[in-house]
């Protein structure tokens, strides 16, 4: 089994939907340890992505083209920290997926490229209470699943599960990157909004593949 352009489009639409549904929750998480805009930022960004998708004259040629559209649109509409971070993630992922079909290893390559983009842009490592704490275990879980022979859908499900656990695990952490780091010790006890949105987006990917 492989994933195709339709999957990519469906992933994007599902991402927009989940980000819309969890807009308030992400705002509230960011309100606790940031400035309360993460939900609004992603809502604005993914709404714009969907509008662009809808306006496309023809179906994109390959998966990379879909992801490139997401990248440029997020970069030009999200702003904040999340805009450049997700924007770079999708841009790198797009470069890794200039194909019409993705097998399990292709999915792993997509996730690895995204994570590399985020780290290249934001210079965070794990344990700093950022989205890297969701992307890193997600990518690792994807590698393990793919190596174990899982289908692309199973790889993405494993990634989403690991992202969820990684996001949960940010709760006790003291932030040392991003806006939450200004709170010092007071940032502990809260879930990182970017880690939570990572989980939502990877879950959307898995559901689109299921």
């Amino acid at each position: 089994m492989t994933l195709d352009v339709a999957w990519a489009v469906d992933w994007v639409r599902r991402s927009a939907q989940t980000v819309t549904e969890h807009r308030e929750e992400l705002i509230e998480l960011d309100r606790q340890i940031g400035d309360g805009d993460h939900g609004e930022n992603l809502f604005r960004g993914f709404s714009a992505v969907v509008a662009k998708l809808d306006a496309l004259p023809a179906e994109p040629a390959d998966i990379g083209e879909v992801l490139r559209l997401v990248a440029t649109t997020l970069m030009s509409t999200v702003g904040g920290a999340a805009g450049p971070l997700y924007g770079t993630a999708y841009l790198r992922a797009a470069k890794a997926t200039g194909v019409t079909q993705l097998d399990s290893h292709g999915v792993v390559a997509l996730l690895e490229a995204a994570l590399e983009g985020i780290v290249a842009r934001g210079k965070a490592t794990t344990g700093e209470k950022t989205m890297v704490d969701a992307w890193t275990p997600a990518t690792e879980a994807a590698v393990a699943a793919a190596d174990g022979g899982a289908s692309p859908a199973q790889v993405l499900a494993a990634a989403a599960d690991a992202a969820r656990d990684g996001a949960e695990a940010t709760i006790p952490l003291v932030a040392t990157k991003g806006r939450a780091s200004y709170l010092g010790e007071r940032s502990a006890g809260h879930l990182d909004p970017g880690a939570r949105s990572t989980e939502l987006i990877l879950r959307a990917a898995a559901q689109a593949a299921a």
Partner: protein, 329 residues
């Protein structure tokens, strides 16, 4: 949430339209993407100055566009850094052949978006300075560093004057860095503010408590203390600022008391009075002053105290003529 707005999604655009319509002699508004330039553009051969950041801090930055200060300002969504595709054309518009200084407040979002914009506008020689004057944030390897807050006004004013007198890009960068090295701030919030799209206050603060060490994005501060008198609160702000600057007496400084948006002017002057007395008590001479709402957090009630150590050059550049909608002399 009670606001004089039509729609959280349109407030920034409508506000910019109003701003441009009200001040056509000073600024020009560019849309799609949104940014603000001087009405007459950057004069040929002058180093361009560009700043930007989330909206909701007005008059920062659009109010500081004009002769003697910025050439362009890039407003993001409320409390959200602008995007690279907004910033890049502003960098290009501000370039009159001598390159552009980007003045960036130290937030991950601002830093990353300006960085990407500079990559996009690779036809422009862009140098970046990062303002990080907020002593409320412990500066260590393990944080994103200090935030840029009200000290940004001093950086923009003084670097703007340096560019206006004809300094080249290296020299303007050097002046900006000198201001950054000598300016420190700290703020307090009595109430939170409400970002339009969020619809509720950015943090919850009981009626008898205040937040010390807040930033300008409605984010909570370092710690919460019981409500106290203005003199006591001012001391909590001024002391770390003066200590961090290492003021020991004999220095001349600019004392800047900034309102967060919802604080009456009378209260800002009460704070100024005590901050000045404390500085004088340390043997520091307050030779320049600024009091008012310059770097705000929407309707937040609170204030920040900024001190800039002056030398003759910085004093002369501070005194140099400026003609923007928010600062003019």
């Amino acid at each position: 949430m009670k606001k004089l707005i039509n729609d959280p999604q349109t407030v920034v655009a409508e506000s910019l339209e109003g701003f441009g319509a009200a001040h056509p002699d000073v600024v020009a508004i560019h849309r799609d993407p949104w940014f603000v330039t001087r009405a007459g553009g950057t004069s040929a051969g002058k180093v361009g100055l560009v700043s930007g950041g989330g909206s909701g801090h007005e008059p920062l930055h659009g109010g500081f566009v004009g002769a003697g200060m910025l050439d362009a300002a890039v407003p993001g969504a409320m409390f959200t850094s602008p995007t690279p595709d907004q910033i890049a054309p502003a960098l290009q518009a501000a370039d009159a052949g001598a390159g552009v200084l980007a003045i960036v407040k130290n937030y991950t979002g601002d830093v990353l978006n300006f960085e990407m914009a500079a990559e996009l506008a690779d036809d422009v020689e862009v140098r970046t300075v990062v303002v990080n004057d907020d002593v409320a944030v412990e500066d260590s390897l393990y944080t994103a560093g200090r935030r840029g807050v009200a000290g940004t006004v001093a950086v923009e004013k003084i670097a703007g004057a340096a560019a206006e007198r004809g300094d080249d890009l290296d020299a303007v960068v050097a002046v900006a860095e000198k201001v950054i090295a000598n300016v420190r701030s700290m703020g307090v919030a009595l109430t939170a503010c409400t970002v339009p799209h969020a619809g509720k206050p950015s943090f919850d603060l009981p009626d008898d408590e205040i937040e010390i060490g807040i930033g300008i994005h409605g984010e909570p501060g370092r710690r919460r203390i019981p409500l106290a008198g203005a003199d006591e609160i001012t001391e909590l702000l001024l002391t770390p600022v003066a200590d961090d600057l290492g003021l020991t007496g004999g220095e001349k400084v600019l004392l800047f008391v900034n309102g967060m948006g919802g604080t009456p002017a009378s209260e800002l002057y009460v704070v100024y009075r005590q901050a000045r007395a404390l500085l004088e008590g340390r043997g520091v001479e307050v030779s320049r002053s600024l009091v008012g709402n310059y770097v705000t957090s929407l309707e937040m009630q609170g204030a920040s105290v900024t001190v800039l150590r002056l030398d003759d050059e910085l004093t002369a550049l501070w005194d140099a003529p400026v003609h923007t909608t928010a600062l003019r002399w």
